[in-house]
């Protein structure tokens, strides 16, 4: 495992937050996923050893919690809310627009490795839907026109990258 020094420092810190090491499982899964992009077998076994658990204790979490993933995703992570309030205000057409813009299917990485599009459940911002999250940033009132602007921005940023 080749984790960044900052990740290792945060891992040490997170473990001190709990009287029982196992409680640090979710924090460590988040930290390692943020560092590596996804959770490989090696990563899971490393976390298990760090927390004195069996790998199965981590696999059962990774396979349950929707935010953990076993495979790399695109450089940009586009999450569109699917739930009722966003759907009522046009979430489905927004989702279709993102798919069209990047020509990729749900939960797959686009051919250029740039994006992964996910349809997720309520993002707790229902009053200003449709809601889209790009990486850690929240976008509100995203209609199809705004979806195009966001997609163009992602494409422009990708083109600038060396």
């Amino acid at each position: 495992m080749n984790l960044k020094p900052d990740t290792l420092r945060k891992i040490d810190e997170a473990i001190t937050h709990y009287p029982v090491k196992r409680s640090a499982a979710l924090p460590l899964l988040h930290l390692v996923q943020e560092d590596q992009g996804y959770l490989s077998d090696e990563a899971i076994e490393w976390i298990a050893a760090r927390l004195e658990l069996q790998p199965i204790n981590l696999y059962e979490l990774v396979t349950f919690y929707p935010m953990f993933r076993r495979h790399p995703i695109g450089r940009r992570h586009i999450r569109i809310c699917r739930t009722l309030s966003c759907a009522l205000t046009g979430g489905y057409p927004v989702f279709e627009e993102f798919r069209r813009q990047f020509g990729c299917d749900l939960n797959e990485v686009s051919a250029d490795g740039e994006v992964t599009i996910e349809f997720v459940e309520c993002l707790a911002s229902c009053g200003s839907g449709p809601i889209v999250m790009i990486d850690d940033d929240l976008y509100e009132n995203v209609d199809v026109a705004k979806a195009r602007v966001l997609a163009d921005k992602i494409k422009a940023e990708a083109a600038k990258r060396p």
Partner: protein, 448 residues
Amino acid sequence: MPAPVQRRILLAHIDEPGYTSDIDCYLRHGGYGVMKRAIARQPEELIDEVKKSGLRGRGGAGFSCGLKWTLVDRKSGKPVYLVVNADESEPGTFKDRHLIHQDPHQLIEGIMITCWANNVRQAYIYIRGEFPQGARILERAIQEAREHRFVGRNILGTAYSCDVFVHRGAGAYICGEETGLIESLEGKRPYPRIKPPYFPAVLGLYQCPTIVNNVETICHVKHIADMGGDAFARIGTPNNTGTRIYCVSGHVRRPGYYEFEVGRITLGQLLYEVCGGPRPGRTFKAVIPGGSSAKVLKFGERFRVKLREGSMAEWSVEDIPLDFDYLSACGTMGGSGGVIVMDDSVNMVEALANINAFYAHESCGQCTPCREGSLWMRKITTRMVHGGARAQDGELLQSVADQIAGRTVCAFGEACAWPTQSFVQKFGDEFRQYAETKKTAKPVTPLV
């Protein structure tokens, strides 16, 4: 009745230009002054204030906060934990988001007063994984509070020490259920625990007595400590005290979050006067008043309700006061305060199909009736929407839902059954006629 005016206590500074989430801004607005006074008082006095206040939990169940605190097993000799429920996972609810992102120190001050009152030495904020910025804001705010000795060792120079840590979830709705949340905090799958014996107040986090309260509830505690329980109890209506934040989404002109005295505003006032009514050319058709799990209300239906003073009243949907008691008297609930509005462009089969997809995705899978039932309800409504509707599907859905509610470890069973039961019961014709309707229906916003 005059137009309703917001009573912004929790939201006093939220969306105020120039108000920021850092501690200097909070201190400039008198921040942590209430905590300083609270720590000079006996913990029992503070619990008494909260009892007198009549505060009911804002997370969904509306359980008395003071009573919850008195049920904590203090004789066990074990440490008492506080877990703040910041999972905000009930669809239609987005108040905790703003309390956390825009005024994190109000929450932290509420936490520290709660901890002092209950002799808690360690608190956790369980925040949904989808709030990465919220988690960072809270962590920074806690660190600032530590530096000012409001959190951590020897708080305000006293012998009292208590720390707060932020714990991020990872996208599972069931982690909002308090015992699922506790399992998750212990590093496990969030399978809810059976009650009895696992009442958090007795056998909670690490089998220790644990208080689980919603973010909004804890923010209220600060203001109760400030104004006193009696003053708080005079806000709102009897047994439904204080203010609460209503989150309005869906088909209204001005969706958003609005704080009112509990029960002092009707659903009609909220939707027409505050939120500007339906979109142009539309009329209201249905409203879910307390988060997506609450039973739907149909515009046009009538309710016969016994008023608090004893007389009977007949109400339309618009007349229902937004509190805990009258909403349950009308067969639904105040729940999490999430009000989802649907206008006459919506077909109820399609709306239910959307809701059913949520619950099927989120069932934790521990109890068979819920795991299987939520999936079958989704399969049926999805099949209906995709051209395979049968006239008897409504009854089929109803029978599946009836076999879930009351047969599960946690209230998710009810949460997923209530939408189906109420949609089919109140809009039965739409379910019977869906196959026909679909042939001639104009295309509308797709919901599935």
